[in-house]
Amino acid sequence: MINKFTKPASLREVSTHYCPGCGHGILHRLVAEVIDELNLRGKIIGVAPVGCAVVAYDYWDFDVSEAAHGRALAVATGIKRCRPQNIVFTYQGDGDLVSIGMAETMHAANRGENVTCIFVNNACYGMTGGQMAPTTLVGQPTVTTPWGRNPKYGEGWPIKLSEILAGLEGVNFAVRSSVSNPKQIMQTREHIKKAFLNQIEGKGFSIVEVLSPCPTVWQKSPTDAMKWIDEEMVKTFPLGIIKNI
Protein backbone atom coordinates (compact mmCIF):
# COMPACT_ATOMS: atom_id res chain seq x y z
CA MET A 1 0.00 0.00 0.00
CA ILE A 2 1.30 3.43 -0.93
CA ASN A 3 1.50 5.85 1.89
CA LYS A 4 2.69 8.85 -0.07
CA PHE A 5 0.26 10.71 -2.21
CA THR A 6 2.63 13.28 -3.62
CA LYS A 7 4.22 13.76 -7.00
CA PRO A 8 7.23 11.48 -7.39
CA ALA A 9 10.55 13.22 -7.99
CA SER A 10 11.08 11.39 -11.28
CA LEU A 11 8.00 13.09 -12.69
CA ARG A 12 8.64 16.64 -13.81
CA GLU A 13 6.48 19.49 -12.56
CA VAL A 14 4.97 20.28 -15.95
CA SER A 15 1.61 20.02 -17.63
CA THR A 16 1.25 17.22 -20.13
CA HIS A 17 -0.30 17.54 -23.58
CA TYR A 18 -2.65 14.66 -22.84
CA CYS A 19 -6.39 15.06 -23.09
CA PRO A 20 -8.37 15.35 -19.86
CA GLY A 21 -8.78 11.93 -18.29
CA CYS A 22 -6.13 10.24 -20.41
CA GLY A 23 -4.62 7.13 -18.84
CA HIS A 24 -1.11 7.97 -19.97
CA GLY A 25 -0.81 10.56 -17.21
CA ILE A 26 -1.66 8.06 -14.49
CA LEU A 27 0.73 5.50 -15.88
CA HIS A 28 3.55 8.00 -16.23
CA ARG A 29 3.21 8.76 -12.56
CA LEU A 30 3.18 5.09 -11.59
CA VAL A 31 6.39 4.46 -13.51
CA ALA A 32 8.02 7.44 -11.81
CA GLU A 33 6.81 6.30 -8.40
CA VAL A 34 8.34 2.86 -8.78
CA ILE A 35 11.60 4.32 -10.03
CA ASP A 36 11.73 6.57 -6.99
CA GLU A 37 10.79 3.76 -4.65
CA LEU A 38 13.47 1.44 -5.99
CA ASN A 39 15.90 4.34 -6.13
CA LEU A 40 16.54 3.73 -9.81
CA ARG A 41 16.60 7.25 -11.19
CA GLY A 42 20.35 7.12 -11.82
CA LYS A 43 20.10 3.71 -13.44
CA ILE A 44 16.94 3.70 -15.42
CA ILE A 45 16.83 4.25 -19.18
CA GLY A 46 13.39 4.53 -20.71
CA VAL A 47 12.39 4.16 -24.33
CA ALA A 48 9.47 6.33 -25.42
CA PRO A 49 7.19 5.22 -28.23
CA VAL A 50 5.68 6.98 -31.16
CA GLY A 51 2.14 7.42 -30.02
CA CYS A 52 0.47 9.90 -27.72
CA ALA A 53 3.27 9.26 -25.24
CA VAL A 54 5.91 10.34 -27.75
CA VAL A 55 7.22 13.11 -25.55
CA ALA A 56 7.16 11.11 -22.33
CA TYR A 57 10.74 12.33 -21.90
CA ASP A 58 9.36 15.80 -21.33
CA TYR A 59 7.42 14.47 -18.35
CA TRP A 60 9.90 12.06 -16.83
CA ASP A 61 13.11 13.22 -15.27
CA PHE A 62 15.56 10.50 -16.20
CA ASP A 63 17.39 9.29 -19.34
CA VAL A 64 15.04 8.42 -22.17
CA SER A 65 15.52 7.44 -25.76
CA GLU A 66 13.10 7.99 -28.58
CA ALA A 67 12.37 5.07 -30.88
CA ALA A 68 10.93 4.98 -34.36
CA HIS A 69 7.30 3.88 -34.43
CA GLY A 70 7.13 0.25 -33.34
CA ARG A 71 10.84 -0.21 -32.78
CA ALA A 72 11.11 0.58 -29.09
CA LEU A 73 12.08 -2.97 -28.18
CA ALA A 74 14.81 -2.99 -30.80
CA VAL A 75 16.13 0.25 -29.38
CA ALA A 76 15.84 -1.17 -25.87
CA THR A 77 17.77 -4.24 -26.98
CA GLY A 78 20.57 -2.04 -28.25
CA ILE A 79 20.64 -0.11 -25.01
CA LYS A 80 20.44 -3.03 -22.63
CA ARG A 81 23.08 -5.10 -24.38
CA CYS A 82 25.50 -2.20 -24.15
CA ARG A 83 24.51 -1.24 -20.60
CA PRO A 84 23.49 -4.41 -18.77
CA GLN A 85 24.09 -2.54 -15.52
CA ASN A 86 21.18 -0.22 -16.28
CA ILE A 87 17.48 -0.90 -15.97
CA VAL A 88 15.79 -0.50 -19.32
CA PHE A 89 12.11 -0.30 -20.10
CA THR A 90 9.92 0.56 -23.03
CA TYR A 91 6.60 2.32 -22.80
CA GLN A 92 4.48 1.52 -25.83
CA GLY A 93 0.97 1.83 -27.14
CA ASP A 94 -0.99 -0.92 -28.84
CA GLY A 95 -0.30 0.42 -32.31
CA ASP A 96 3.37 0.75 -31.60
CA LEU A 97 3.87 -2.57 -29.85
CA VAL A 98 1.34 -4.86 -31.52
CA SER A 99 0.81 -3.50 -35.02
CA ILE A 100 3.85 -2.03 -36.72
CA GLY A 101 6.21 -3.32 -34.03
CA MET A 102 4.94 -6.91 -33.94
CA ALA A 103 8.17 -8.41 -35.28
CA GLU A 104 10.43 -6.46 -32.95
CA THR A 105 8.13 -7.27 -30.04
CA MET A 106 8.00 -11.01 -30.67
CA HIS A 107 11.71 -11.33 -31.26
CA ALA A 108 12.88 -9.22 -28.33
CA ALA A 109 10.62 -11.31 -26.12
CA ASN A 110 11.81 -14.54 -27.69
CA ARG A 111 15.43 -13.58 -27.15
CA GLY A 112 14.51 -13.05 -23.55
CA GLU A 113 15.97 -9.57 -23.57
CA ASN A 114 16.31 -8.54 -19.95
CA VAL A 115 14.07 -5.51 -20.29
CA THR A 116 10.61 -4.44 -19.18
CA CYS A 117 7.84 -3.59 -21.59
CA ILE A 118 5.03 -1.40 -20.33
CA PHE A 119 2.19 -1.83 -22.76
CA VAL A 120 -0.52 0.83 -22.78
CA ASN A 121 -3.56 -0.80 -24.31
CA ASN A 122 -6.15 1.83 -25.15
CA ALA A 123 -7.78 -0.13 -27.94
CA CYS A 124 -7.11 2.57 -30.51
CA TYR A 125 -4.59 4.88 -32.12
CA GLY A 126 -4.75 7.99 -29.99
CA MET A 127 -2.03 10.07 -31.55
CA THR A 128 -3.23 9.89 -35.11
CA GLY A 129 -6.83 10.57 -34.30
CA GLY A 130 -8.61 7.37 -33.49
CA GLN A 131 -7.94 4.64 -36.01
CA MET A 132 -8.38 0.94 -35.35
CA ALA A 133 -5.67 -0.68 -33.25
CA PRO A 134 -4.88 -4.41 -33.16
CA THR A 135 -6.55 -4.33 -29.75
CA THR A 136 -9.73 -2.56 -30.82
CA LEU A 137 -12.70 -4.58 -29.60
CA VAL A 138 -14.99 -6.34 -32.01
CA GLY A 139 -17.81 -3.92 -32.78
CA GLN A 140 -15.91 -0.87 -31.55
CA PRO A 141 -16.18 1.97 -34.04
CA THR A 142 -13.05 3.86 -35.04
CA VAL A 143 -12.15 6.29 -37.76
CA THR A 144 -11.06 3.41 -39.99
CA THR A 145 -13.79 1.00 -38.92
CA PRO A 146 -16.74 3.38 -39.03
CA TRP A 147 -19.24 0.53 -38.72
CA GLY A 148 -17.37 -1.03 -35.82
CA ARG A 149 -14.51 -3.48 -36.10
CA ASN A 150 -15.79 -6.50 -37.92
CA PRO A 151 -13.70 -9.63 -38.37
CA LYS A 152 -15.99 -10.67 -41.21
CA TYR A 153 -14.69 -7.76 -43.24
CA GLY A 154 -11.13 -8.90 -42.72
CA GLU A 155 -10.45 -6.41 -39.97
CA GLY A 156 -9.22 -9.12 -37.66
CA TRP A 157 -9.77 -9.91 -34.03
CA PRO A 158 -8.36 -8.12 -30.98
CA ILE A 159 -4.86 -9.50 -30.46
CA LYS A 160 -4.05 -10.65 -26.95
CA LEU A 161 -0.40 -9.89 -27.05
CA SER A 162 0.41 -10.67 -23.43
CA GLU A 163 -1.02 -14.14 -23.79
CA ILE A 164 0.99 -14.68 -26.96
CA LEU A 165 4.21 -13.47 -25.38
CA ALA A 166 3.58 -15.61 -22.33
CA GLY A 167 3.95 -18.59 -24.65
CA LEU A 168 7.54 -17.66 -25.42
CA GLU A 169 10.33 -19.10 -23.33
CA GLY A 170 12.16 -15.80 -23.10
CA VAL A 171 9.32 -14.23 -21.15
CA ASN A 172 9.29 -14.52 -17.38
CA PHE A 173 6.46 -12.23 -16.42
CA ALA A 174 3.30 -11.34 -18.31
CA VAL A 175 0.46 -9.61 -16.61
CA ARG A 176 -2.52 -7.43 -17.35
CA SER A 177 -4.08 -4.76 -15.17
CA SER A 178 -5.69 -1.39 -15.74
CA VAL A 179 -5.72 2.20 -14.55
CA SER A 180 -9.48 2.34 -14.45
CA ASN A 181 -9.93 2.49 -10.68
CA PRO A 182 -7.79 3.05 -7.60
CA LYS A 183 -7.40 -0.64 -6.89
CA GLN A 184 -6.21 -1.50 -10.36
CA ILE A 185 -3.94 1.52 -10.33
CA MET A 186 -2.23 0.20 -7.24
CA GLN A 187 -2.12 -3.23 -8.82
CA THR A 188 -0.43 -1.81 -11.89
CA ARG A 189 2.13 -0.13 -9.69
CA GLU A 190 2.94 -3.46 -8.10
CA HIS A 191 3.29 -5.10 -11.49
CA ILE A 192 5.73 -2.48 -12.68
CA LYS A 193 7.72 -2.89 -9.51
CA LYS A 194 7.81 -6.64 -9.87
CA ALA A 195 8.92 -6.32 -13.49
CA PHE A 196 11.79 -4.01 -12.58
CA LEU A 197 12.82 -6.30 -9.75
CA ASN A 198 12.79 -9.24 -12.15
CA GLN A 199 15.03 -7.30 -14.46
CA ILE A 200 17.40 -6.53 -11.62
CA GLU A 201 17.54 -10.25 -10.96
CA GLY A 202 18.31 -10.86 -14.64
CA LYS A 203 15.21 -12.93 -15.26
CA GLY A 204 14.59 -11.81 -18.83
CA PHE A 205 11.65 -10.25 -20.57
CA SER A 206 8.64 -8.88 -18.67
CA ILE A 207 5.50 -7.40 -20.10
CA VAL A 208 3.10 -5.32 -18.04
CA GLU A 209 -0.03 -4.67 -20.05
CA VAL A 210 -2.23 -1.86 -18.82
CA LEU A 211 -5.75 -1.13 -20.03
CA SER A 212 -5.87 2.61 -20.28
CA PRO A 213 -8.63 5.08 -21.13
CA CYS A 214 -8.64 7.24 -24.25
CA PRO A 215 -11.76 9.32 -23.63
CA THR A 216 -11.11 11.41 -26.74
CA VAL A 217 -11.11 8.64 -29.29
CA TRP A 218 -13.70 6.59 -27.45
CA GLN A 219 -15.89 9.72 -27.37
CA LYS A 220 -16.74 9.13 -23.76
CA SER A 221 -16.40 11.27 -20.68
CA PRO A 222 -13.34 10.38 -18.60
CA THR A 223 -15.47 8.62 -16.01
CA ASP A 224 -17.45 6.72 -18.63
CA ALA A 225 -14.17 5.70 -20.22
CA MET A 226 -13.07 4.20 -16.90
CA LYS A 227 -16.34 2.35 -16.62
CA TRP A 228 -16.04 1.05 -20.15
CA ILE A 229 -12.70 -0.52 -19.28
CA ASP A 230 -14.12 -2.21 -16.22
CA GLU A 231 -17.27 -3.35 -17.95
CA GLU A 232 -16.38 -4.00 -21.58
CA MET A 233 -12.67 -4.09 -22.22
CA VAL A 234 -11.91 -6.64 -19.52
CA LYS A 235 -14.19 -9.13 -21.24
CA THR A 236 -11.77 -9.30 -24.16
CA PHE A 237 -8.68 -8.57 -22.09
CA PRO A 238 -9.11 -10.31 -18.74
CA LEU A 239 -7.04 -8.88 -15.91
CA GLY A 240 -4.54 -10.85 -13.91
CA ILE A 241 -1.24 -12.62 -14.02
CA ILE A 242 -0.70 -14.61 -17.20
CA LYS A 243 2.80 -15.84 -16.55
CA ASN A 244 5.11 -15.49 -13.60
CA ILE A 245 8.19 -17.63 -13.24
Binding site: V64, E66, R71, A74
Partner: protein, 357 residues
Protein backbone atom coordinates in the same frame (compact mmCIF):
# COMPACT_ATOMS: atom_id res chain seq x y z
CA UNK B 1 60.21 -3.39 -58.07
CA UNK B 2 58.40 -1.98 -55.06
CA UNK B 3 58.27 -4.78 -52.52
CA UNK B 4 55.21 -5.09 -50.38
CA UNK B 5 55.64 -5.81 -46.68
CA UNK B 6 54.90 -9.44 -45.92
CA UNK B 7 52.84 -8.44 -42.91
CA UNK B 8 49.89 -8.23 -45.28
CA UNK B 9 47.29 -10.93 -44.98
CA UNK B 10 44.91 -12.09 -47.63
CA UNK B 11 41.44 -10.92 -46.75
CA UNK B 12 38.18 -10.13 -48.41
CA UNK B 13 36.83 -6.61 -48.24
CA UNK B 14 34.00 -7.85 -46.05
CA UNK B 15 36.34 -9.50 -43.57
CA UNK B 16 38.66 -6.52 -43.61
CA UNK B 17 35.81 -4.18 -42.73
CA UNK B 18 34.66 -6.46 -39.92
CA UNK B 19 38.15 -6.71 -38.49
CA UNK B 20 38.67 -2.97 -38.82
CA UNK B 21 35.48 -2.36 -36.86
CA UNK B 22 36.79 -4.59 -34.14
CA UNK B 23 40.08 -2.73 -34.16
CA UNK B 24 38.15 0.54 -33.95
CA UNK B 25 36.63 -0.65 -30.71
CA UNK B 26 33.19 -1.33 -32.12
CA UNK B 27 31.26 -2.74 -29.17
CA UNK B 28 27.93 -3.52 -30.77
CA UNK B 29 27.05 -5.17 -34.05
CA UNK B 30 23.56 -5.99 -35.25
CA UNK B 31 22.79 -7.18 -38.74
CA UNK B 32 20.70 -9.46 -40.85
CA UNK B 33 22.10 -11.84 -43.46
CA UNK B 34 22.15 -10.80 -47.09
CA UNK B 35 24.49 -11.59 -49.93
CA UNK B 36 27.08 -10.24 -50.80
CA UNK B 37 27.99 -9.12 -47.28
CA UNK B 38 27.38 -12.29 -45.26
CA UNK B 39 31.05 -12.55 -44.37
CA UNK B 40 30.63 -9.53 -42.11
CA UNK B 41 28.03 -11.00 -39.74
CA UNK B 42 29.80 -14.37 -39.85
CA UNK B 43 33.06 -12.77 -38.83
CA UNK B 44 31.42 -10.66 -36.16
CA UNK B 45 29.44 -13.60 -34.76
CA UNK B 46 32.73 -15.22 -33.85
CA UNK B 47 35.00 -12.37 -32.95
CA UNK B 48 32.60 -10.20 -30.98
CA UNK B 49 31.63 -13.07 -28.73
CA UNK B 50 35.29 -13.96 -28.23
CA UNK B 51 36.00 -10.40 -27.18
CA UNK B 52 33.02 -10.15 -24.85
CA UNK B 53 31.31 -7.62 -27.07
CA UNK B 54 27.84 -7.80 -28.56
CA UNK B 55 26.79 -9.54 -31.75
CA UNK B 56 23.10 -9.80 -32.55
CA UNK B 57 21.59 -11.44 -35.57
CA UNK B 58 18.58 -9.21 -35.70
CA UNK B 59 15.21 -10.40 -36.94
CA UNK B 60 15.42 -7.93 -39.82
CA UNK B 61 17.34 -4.95 -41.14
CA UNK B 62 14.74 -2.72 -39.57
CA UNK B 63 15.31 -4.21 -36.16
CA UNK B 64 19.07 -4.01 -36.69
CA UNK B 65 19.15 -0.30 -37.52
CA UNK B 66 16.94 0.49 -34.55
CA UNK B 67 19.12 -1.59 -32.26
CA UNK B 68 21.95 0.56 -33.55
CA UNK B 69 19.95 3.62 -32.54
CA UNK B 70 19.77 2.25 -29.01
CA UNK B 71 23.37 1.13 -28.81
CA UNK B 72 24.65 4.40 -30.27
CA UNK B 73 22.51 6.32 -27.79
CA UNK B 74 24.50 4.73 -24.96
CA UNK B 75 27.70 6.10 -26.45
CA UNK B 76 29.33 2.88 -27.63
CA UNK B 77 30.65 2.41 -31.14
CA UNK B 78 28.17 0.42 -33.16
CA UNK B 79 27.96 -1.07 -36.60
CA UNK B 80 25.42 -2.59 -38.91
CA UNK B 81 25.91 -3.92 -42.40
CA UNK B 82 23.69 -5.00 -45.22
CA UNK B 83 23.26 -4.88 -48.96
CA UNK B 84 20.96 -2.83 -51.16
CA UNK B 85 17.43 -4.15 -50.42
CA UNK B 86 18.31 -4.38 -46.76
CA UNK B 87 19.66 -0.85 -46.75
CA UNK B 88 16.42 0.43 -48.24
CA UNK B 89 14.70 -1.00 -45.19
CA UNK B 90 17.06 0.94 -42.97
CA UNK B 91 16.23 4.33 -44.46
CA UNK B 92 13.74 5.36 -41.82
CA UNK B 93 16.16 4.33 -39.11
CA UNK B 94 19.10 6.16 -40.66
CA UNK B 95 16.99 9.30 -40.89
CA UNK B 96 16.22 8.94 -37.17
CA UNK B 97 19.87 8.44 -36.27
CA UNK B 98 20.84 11.47 -38.30
CA UNK B 99 18.07 13.50 -36.73
CA UNK B 100 19.01 12.43 -33.21
CA UNK B 101 22.68 13.10 -34.00
CA UNK B 102 23.94 9.70 -32.95
CA UNK B 103 27.23 8.28 -34.21
CA UNK B 104 27.11 4.95 -36.02
CA UNK B 105 28.66 3.21 -39.00
CA UNK B 106 26.53 1.52 -41.65
CA UNK B 107 28.05 -0.65 -44.35
CA UNK B 108 26.28 -1.18 -47.66
CA UNK B 109 27.87 -3.75 -49.96
CA UNK B 110 25.86 -2.94 -53.05
CA UNK B 111 24.25 -5.50 -55.34
CA UNK B 112 22.09 -5.27 -58.42
CA UNK B 113 18.65 -3.71 -58.22
CA UNK B 114 15.92 -2.54 -58.38
CA UNK B 115 13.84 -4.96 -56.34
CA UNK B 116 15.40 -8.28 -55.58
CA UNK B 117 17.60 -7.72 -58.63
CA UNK B 118 20.56 -10.04 -58.32
CA UNK B 119 23.70 -10.42 -56.24
CA UNK B 120 26.22 -9.11 -58.73
CA UNK B 121 28.28 -6.00 -58.12
CA UNK B 122 26.55 -2.69 -58.63
CA UNK B 123 26.86 0.98 -57.78
CA UNK B 124 23.27 1.95 -58.10
CA UNK B 125 22.61 3.01 -54.52
CA UNK B 126 24.66 6.17 -55.00
CA UNK B 127 21.66 8.49 -54.99
CA UNK B 128 20.15 6.85 -51.94
CA UNK B 129 23.44 7.08 -50.09
CA UNK B 130 24.51 10.59 -50.98
CA UNK B 131 21.15 12.33 -50.85
CA UNK B 132 19.64 11.02 -47.67
CA UNK B 133 17.57 8.14 -49.01
CA UNK B 134 15.40 8.48 -45.97
CA UNK B 135 12.95 11.32 -45.46
CA UNK B 136 13.88 14.78 -44.36
CA UNK B 137 16.79 17.12 -44.83
CA UNK B 138 19.89 15.20 -43.87
CA UNK B 139 23.10 13.90 -45.29
CA UNK B 140 25.50 11.26 -44.09
CA UNK B 141 29.19 11.09 -44.92
CA UNK B 142 29.64 8.35 -47.51
CA UNK B 143 32.99 6.63 -47.83
CA UNK B 144 33.67 4.48 -50.87
CA UNK B 145 36.58 2.04 -50.67
CA UNK B 146 38.15 0.50 -53.73
CA UNK B 147 40.13 -2.25 -52.03
CA UNK B 148 39.91 -4.42 -48.93
CA UNK B 149 42.74 -2.51 -47.33
CA UNK B 150 41.15 0.82 -48.02
CA UNK B 151 37.82 -0.56 -46.83
CA UNK B 152 39.46 -1.30 -43.49
CA UNK B 153 40.99 2.16 -43.40
CA UNK B 154 37.71 3.84 -44.14
CA UNK B 155 35.89 1.90 -41.44
CA UNK B 156 38.39 3.28 -38.92
CA UNK B 157 37.95 6.74 -40.37
CA UNK B 158 34.18 6.30 -40.41
CA UNK B 159 33.99 5.57 -36.70
CA UNK B 160 36.07 8.65 -35.92
CA UNK B 161 34.00 10.87 -38.18
CA UNK B 162 30.82 9.48 -36.70
CA UNK B 163 31.96 10.29 -33.19
CA UNK B 164 33.35 13.69 -34.06
CA UNK B 165 30.35 14.94 -35.98
CA UNK B 166 27.73 12.86 -34.20
CA UNK B 167 26.40 11.44 -37.40
CA UNK B 168 25.77 8.12 -39.06
CA UNK B 169 28.52 7.36 -41.58
CA UNK B 170 27.91 5.15 -44.58
CA UNK B 171 30.57 2.88 -46.01
CA UNK B 172 29.46 2.34 -49.58
CA UNK B 173 31.23 -0.68 -50.99
CA UNK B 174 30.28 -2.65 -54.04
CA UNK B 175 30.13 -6.42 -54.22
CA UNK B 176 33.51 -6.63 -55.93
CA UNK B 177 35.23 -4.76 -53.11
CA UNK B 178 33.33 -6.80 -50.53
CA UNK B 179 34.06 -10.17 -52.13
CA UNK B 180 37.54 -9.75 -53.58
CA UNK B 181 40.57 -10.72 -51.54
CA UNK B 182 43.82 -8.89 -51.42
CA UNK B 183 46.69 -8.32 -49.06
CA UNK B 184 45.57 -6.18 -46.16
CA UNK B 185 47.67 -4.42 -43.59
CA UNK B 186 45.73 -2.82 -40.78
CA UNK B 187 46.61 0.54 -39.42
CA UNK B 188 45.87 0.93 -35.76
CA UNK B 189 44.59 4.47 -36.00
CA UNK B 190 42.52 6.30 -38.54
CA UNK B 191 43.82 9.25 -40.49
CA UNK B 192 41.32 11.41 -38.64
CA UNK B 193 43.35 13.82 -36.62
CA UNK B 194 40.83 15.91 -34.73
CA UNK B 195 40.30 15.23 -31.06
CA UNK B 196 37.09 13.34 -30.40
CA UNK B 197 34.70 15.09 -28.03
CA UNK B 198 33.43 13.38 -24.88
CA UNK B 199 30.04 11.70 -25.20
CA UNK B 200 28.33 13.49 -22.38
CA UNK B 201 25.04 13.25 -24.26
CA UNK B 202 24.98 9.46 -23.91
CA UNK B 203 22.24 7.60 -22.09
CA UNK B 204 23.95 5.95 -19.17
CA UNK B 205 21.52 6.62 -16.37
CA UNK B 206 20.97 10.13 -15.01
CA UNK B 207 23.13 9.64 -11.97
CA UNK B 208 24.27 13.01 -10.61
CA UNK B 209 23.47 14.86 -13.77
CA UNK B 210 20.37 16.11 -15.58
CA UNK B 211 18.54 13.61 -17.75
CA UNK B 212 19.81 12.97 -21.28
CA UNK B 213 17.36 12.49 -24.13
CA UNK B 214 18.06 10.91 -27.51
CA UNK B 215 15.49 12.20 -29.94
CA UNK B 216 14.70 13.56 -33.37
CA UNK B 217 11.22 14.88 -32.56
CA UNK B 218 10.72 18.61 -32.08
CA UNK B 219 7.11 19.43 -31.45
CA UNK B 220 7.28 23.07 -30.49
CA UNK B 221 6.74 25.50 -33.32
CA UNK B 222 10.06 26.49 -34.82
CA UNK B 223 12.04 23.98 -32.77
CA UNK B 224 12.65 21.57 -35.64
CA UNK B 225 13.51 24.43 -37.94
CA UNK B 226 16.15 25.59 -35.47
CA UNK B 227 17.42 22.03 -35.02
CA UNK B 228 17.70 21.56 -38.78
CA UNK B 229 19.59 24.81 -39.04
CA UNK B 230 22.15 23.37 -36.62
CA UNK B 231 22.28 20.23 -38.72
CA UNK B 232 22.81 22.33 -41.83
CA UNK B 233 25.76 24.01 -40.20
CA UNK B 234 27.17 20.61 -39.41
CA UNK B 235 26.77 19.37 -42.98
CA UNK B 236 28.44 22.57 -44.14
CA UNK B 237 31.38 21.94 -41.83
CA UNK B 238 31.72 18.39 -43.07
CA UNK B 239 31.59 19.63 -46.63
CA UNK B 240 34.43 22.01 -45.89
CA UNK B 241 36.61 19.55 -43.98
CA UNK B 242 36.09 16.09 -45.27
CA UNK B 243 36.30 15.96 -49.04
CA UNK B 244 38.60 13.13 -50.04
CA UNK B 245 39.76 11.77 -53.36
CA UNK B 246 42.76 10.31 -55.09
CA UNK B 247 44.19 10.61 -58.57
CA UNK B 248 46.15 8.51 -61.02
CA UNK B 249 48.26 9.97 -63.79
CA UNK B 250 46.34 13.21 -63.87
CA UNK B 251 49.32 15.58 -63.97
CA UNK B 252 49.53 15.78 -67.72
CA UNK B 253 46.17 14.26 -68.54
CA UNK B 254 43.89 15.64 -71.22
CA UNK B 255 41.12 13.18 -70.60
CA UNK B 256 39.85 12.48 -67.15
CA UNK B 257 38.02 9.35 -66.12
CA UNK B 258 35.99 9.67 -62.94
CA UNK B 259 35.05 6.47 -61.14
CA UNK B 260 34.83 5.13 -57.60
CA UNK B 261 34.96 1.83 -55.78
CA UNK B 262 35.82 -1.24 -57.78
CA UNK B 263 35.04 0.61 -61.00
CA UNK B 264 37.92 2.98 -60.25
CA UNK B 265 40.30 0.04 -60.30
CA UNK B 266 38.96 -1.05 -63.63
CA UNK B 267 39.20 2.50 -64.89
CA UNK B 268 42.81 2.64 -63.70
CA UNK B 269 43.55 -0.33 -65.90
CA UNK B 270 41.85 1.54 -68.73
CA UNK B 271 44.05 4.56 -68.08
CA UNK B 272 47.13 2.39 -68.50
CA UNK B 273 45.74 0.89 -71.67
CA UNK B 274 44.97 4.35 -73.03
CA UNK B 275 48.40 5.62 -72.08
CA UNK B 276 49.87 2.66 -73.93
CA UNK B 277 47.99 3.99 -76.94
CA UNK B 278 49.46 7.44 -76.32
CA UNK B 279 46.16 8.83 -75.17
CA UNK B 280 46.77 11.05 -72.17
CA UNK B 281 44.17 9.76 -69.78
CA UNK B 282 44.04 10.11 -66.01
CA UNK B 283 41.78 8.94 -63.22
CA UNK B 284 39.95 10.90 -60.54
CA UNK B 285 38.64 8.67 -57.79
CA UNK B 286 36.28 10.15 -55.19
CA UNK B 287 36.75 8.53 -51.81
CA UNK B 288 34.07 10.55 -50.09
CA UNK B 289 30.93 10.44 -52.18
CA UNK B 290 29.31 12.82 -49.75
CA UNK B 291 30.72 15.34 -49.34
CA UNK B 292 31.58 15.10 -52.99
CA UNK B 293 35.24 16.08 -53.52
CA UNK B 294 34.28 18.95 -55.79
CA UNK B 295 37.18 21.14 -54.76
CA UNK B 296 39.69 18.54 -55.87
CA UNK B 297 37.73 17.67 -58.97
CA UNK B 298 37.65 21.32 -59.98
CA UNK B 299 41.39 21.60 -59.47
CA UNK B 300 42.28 18.34 -61.19
CA UNK B 301 40.05 18.98 -64.17
CA UNK B 302 41.50 22.38 -64.84
CA UNK B 303 43.41 21.41 -67.97
CA UNK B 304 41.17 18.52 -68.87
CA UNK B 305 39.49 18.54 -72.25
CA UNK B 306 36.89 15.87 -71.75
CA UNK B 307 35.59 14.07 -68.71
CA UNK B 308 34.38 10.48 -68.70
CA UNK B 309 32.27 9.26 -65.83
CA UNK B 310 32.10 5.51 -65.52
CA UNK B 311 29.75 3.76 -63.14
CA UNK B 312 28.20 0.40 -62.43
CA UNK B 313 24.84 2.14 -62.72
CA UNK B 314 22.64 3.97 -65.20
CA UNK B 315 24.26 7.24 -64.20
CA UNK B 316 24.11 8.57 -60.68
CA UNK B 317 27.47 10.01 -59.61
CA UNK B 318 27.58 11.71 -62.98
CA UNK B 319 25.13 14.27 -61.55
CA UNK B 320 27.66 15.28 -58.92
CA UNK B 321 30.32 15.62 -61.58
CA UNK B 322 27.95 17.84 -63.58
CA UNK B 323 27.19 19.90 -60.50
CA UNK B 324 30.90 20.23 -59.65
CA UNK B 325 32.23 21.13 -63.10
CA UNK B 326 29.21 22.17 -65.15
CA UNK B 327 31.36 23.97 -67.71
CA UNK B 328 33.20 20.82 -68.78
CA UNK B 329 32.33 18.37 -71.52
CA UNK B 330 31.14 15.32 -69.65
CA UNK B 331 30.45 11.85 -71.05
CA UNK B 332 28.88 8.93 -69.29
CA UNK B 333 29.41 5.20 -69.55
CA UNK B 334 27.46 2.93 -67.30
CA UNK B 335 26.04 -0.52 -66.90
CA UNK B 336 23.39 -1.57 -64.49
CA UNK B 337 22.08 -4.69 -62.82
CA UNK B 338 25.42 -6.37 -62.38
CA UNK B 339 26.94 -5.22 -65.63
CA UNK B 340 30.51 -4.03 -65.17
CA UNK B 341 32.04 -1.53 -67.59
CA UNK B 342 35.27 -3.37 -68.41
CA UNK B 343 38.63 -1.75 -69.03
CA UNK B 344 38.54 -2.48 -72.73
CA UNK B 345 35.02 -1.02 -72.96
CA UNK B 346 36.16 2.15 -71.25
CA UNK B 347 39.08 2.41 -73.65
CA UNK B 348 36.77 1.94 -76.60
CA UNK B 349 34.39 4.56 -75.28
CA UNK B 350 37.11 7.13 -74.70
CA UNK B 351 38.62 6.44 -78.08
CA UNK B 352 35.27 6.80 -79.80
CA UNK B 353 34.47 10.12 -78.16
CA UNK B 354 37.93 11.58 -78.63
CA UNK B 355 38.09 10.44 -82.22
CA UNK B 356 34.81 12.20 -82.91
CA UNK B 357 36.50 15.50 -82.39
Amino acid sequence: MKKIKVTKILMSGNEAMAEAAIKAGCFFYAGYPITPQNEIPSYMAKRMRELGRVFIQAESELAAINMIFGAAATGVRSLTSSSSPGVSLKQEGISYIAGAQLPAVIINVMRGGPGLGNIASSQSDYFQSTRGGGHGDYYTPVLAPSSPEEAAKLVLLGFDMADFYRTPVLILADAIVGQMMEGVEFSSKSEFKKKLPPKNWALTGASNRPANIAKSFFLKEGALEAHNERLREKWEKIKQNEQRSSTYKTEDAKYLIVAYGSEARIAQEAVDMLRAKKIKAGLFRPITLWPYPEKNLKAVSKNIKKVFVVEQSLGQMVEDVRLSIPYKEIHFLGKSGGGIPLAKEIVKFVEKVTRNK
